[in-house]
């Protein structure tokens, strides 16, 4: 089960999934990101501080936006992952494909890079 919070800070949309994202709940993440882009946000942070688990269904959601974000010039940075969640991204080598920062300050810096 996942609950996803959203808040806006300095023109940046911050998406915070709370709980576990699997094949039954990844749609929630997909809808939230789609909503953010639909509302015109070009800077998106994903606060993974309360994300306890993610399976390939959730990772697939992030990956499915890579091309679209390139075309639309949208920046997305993930931050605050626990060791276990970070390990899942590492196993698949997603650190090379997605932008991942250790904390919010670093994530904001990356999302504001031109």
């Amino acid at each position: 089960m996942v609950h996803i919070k959203r808040l806006q800070e300095d023109g940046i949309d911050i998406i915070a999934p709370i709980g576990e994202i699997d094949a039954s709940s990844s749609i929630e993440l997909d809808l939230t990101i789609a909503k953010s882009v639909g509302e015109g946000f070009s800077k998106i942070l994903v606060d993974c501080g309360a994300l306890e688990y993610i399976s390939s269904a959730g990772l697939g959601v992030f990956m499915s936006y890579i091309d679209e974000f390139k075309d639309k010039n949208v920046r997305m940075v993930l931050y605050g992952m626990s060791e276990k969640v970070a390990n899942t991204f590492e196993i698949l080598g997603l650190y090379d494909l997605l932008t991942i920062a250790p904390d919010k300050a670093e994530a904001k810096k990356k999302v504001n890079e031109v």
Binding site: S24, Y53, L59, M63, I66, N87, T88, L92, G93
Partner: protein, 139 residues
């Protein structure tokens, strides 16, 4: 020690499967990170099975068994009577193709193969048994 769990093929049951695996593996001296990897691999296998072999029909059940013994690898068995999809016969697309073709399926299989030491398929009567082995230090 053997742990058993019977579950219907609804994706909503994945949470219960993960909780069962976490509870079974704890108190055997296995590290948290290794437990989380095995939970992930089994979640991927079970969700694949529910979706591809059972059309997410909650009335179709399968068994998950975990054998944990001192100084032996951890052995998971998924037992069902659906169609068999052998992940060893599946060539995962490259990560690049996964992005551009928006194919989400190959990621889970890649995770399972990276995490588990072996994945084998067998039959017992009319049941399929998928056996996944992970070599970890068990106390």
């Amino acid at each position: 020690m053997k742990y058993k769990y019977k579950v219907g093929c609804s994706l909503e049951n994945l949470q219960g499967i993960r909780d069962f695996i976490r509870t079974s593996l704890k108190n055997h001296g296995i590290s948290e990170l290794e437990i989380s990897e095995m939970v992930l691999a089994l979640d991927e296998m079970c969700s694949n099975l529910m979706i591809h072999a059972h059309d997410c029909n909650p009335d179709e059940l399968f068994d998950l068994e975990i054998a944990i013994d001192k100084n032996k690898p951890v052995v998971f068995e998924i037992i069902d009577d659906g169609s068999v999809f052998d992940i060893n016969q599946f060539n995962e697309p490259s990560m690049d193709n996964l992005i551009h073709e928006k194919r989400k399926g190959g990621l889970g299989i890649r995770l399972v193969k990276s995490i588990m030491d072996s994945v084998e398929y067998g039959k017992s009567g009319n049941k399929n048994i998928c056996r996944l082995v992970k070599r970890v230090q068990v106390n």
